[in-house]
């Protein structure tokens, strides 16, 4: 006998993600899911973003890693609340993990939560966490061909950060080709060249993010 099911495979994750999204909307919190490979500069980008926006917004960070709490400690050293999630081997965050982390934060006091996903260009792209926007960081040393190899993560992202831009002259990185491939994958997604460690280019990214946070606070977030 055949039994029809007609259900999303990740229904459990997706339902919890929607519950997260409602919770964030109730509190007017903007939630950024930051994705990148290991070593692309996720934590540096978070610290640079905090430096640019901490006078205007109350910020908290959720750090996702397979093991260790070094990233959360780095963020806390700057006086920002940070929750560490250890996935214990899983290659991506899921909405239930985010929910547990969020329950330790005072959402009424927070405007922006930055989630640092597990370093990986594949799996995080298929999992809805209830975030307001997914953003990908690619760093110059990784090479301009990465969007060809990991297209999905560039397609689900609402902005692309091109980090370590200060090293462009020493790597064989074709920025024109990079931008063309990104455009072929995701139309008019904004690309922000920057160096999280020198601070160059951070302002343009921070202003884009600020506009999105303001929209979330005004209650018309996507």
């Amino acid at each position: 006998m055949k039994v029809d099911i007609e259900q999303r495979i990740l229904a459990v994750n997706d339902e919890l993600a929607e519950a997260n999204r409602r919770l964030f909307a109730e509190h007017g919190v903007f939630v950024l899911d930051l994705m990148a490979s290991p070593g692309a500069g996720k934590t540096s980008t978070i610290l640079a973003t905090i430096a640019a926006l901490r006078d205007r917004y109350s910020i908290a960070v959720i750090e996702g890693d397979i093991a260790s709490k070094v990233d959360a400690e780095k963020v806390r050293a700057h006086g920002i609340p940070a929750v560490q999630i250890n996935t214990g081997g899983a290659c991506h965050l899921e909405s239930a993990m985010v929910r547990r982390a969020v329950e330790t934060l005072d959402l009424g006091e927070i405007d922006l939560i930055i989630i640092e996903n597990v370093g990986n260009l594949v799996c995080p792209s298929d999992f809805d966490l209830g975030e307001s926007a997914k953003v990908i960081i690619l760093s110059v040393p990784e090479g301009h061909d990465k969007p060809y190899k990991y297209p999905n993560i560039f397609q689900v992202s609402e902005a692309v950060i091109l980090n370590k831009y200060d090293t462009l002259s020493v790597f064989d990185f074709d920025e024109t080709e990079f931008r063309e491939v990104v455009r072929s994958l995701n139309g008019q997604v904004p690309v922000f060249p920057m160096s999280a460690t020198t601070g160059d280019g951070v302002a343009a990214w921070a202003e884009w993010l600020a506009a999105r946070i303001d929209a979330a606070r005004d209650g018309d977030a996507s």
Binding site: V3, Q7, I9, L10, N13, A90, D126, L185
Partner: protein, 119 residues
């Protein structure tokens, strides 16, 4: 390699539906996967074989239907099939406002079961 998590999602839904239907065994599970997701069919089959033993779905087959992406242009209404790299811009009017109609599915369609009393 998140196919294990995907396989677990398929198994959970299959077992729930099978119990509701009074099944004694699941013989086949049908799923639909969009080509734009990062799911590899081989890895999914491997994960399915790894997690189904000692469940009602032990020994069951997993039938995967892959779906090629199709998009629709918001400006001119043109619909076209494409690969991963040619879906962002309408080939007819060159507009950039497009909606993906198919290609990102992660869906469990149905299961074949044996019921109480089946041979």
């Amino acid at each position: 390699m998140h196919e294990m998590g995907i396989a677990e999602g398929i198994l959970t839904s299959s077992l729930d539906a099978a119990e509701d239907a009074g099944a004694t065994r699941i013989t086949r599970v049908f799923v639909t996967i969009g080509e734009l997701t990062e799911v590899m069919e081989d890895a999914l089959q491997f994960a399915w074989e790894a997690i189904t033993p000692e469940t009602m779905a032990e020994g069951s087959a997993l039938t995967v239907t892959m779906v090629a992406p199709v998009s629709r242009c918001a400006d001119c209404g043109h619909e076209w099939a494409h690969d991963r790299y040619s879906g962002a811009q309408c080939p007819s009017c060159e507009g950039w406002v497009v909606a993906l109609l198919r290609g990102r599915e992660l869906k469990i369609d149905s299961i074949d079961i044996d019921e109480e009393g089946d041979a």
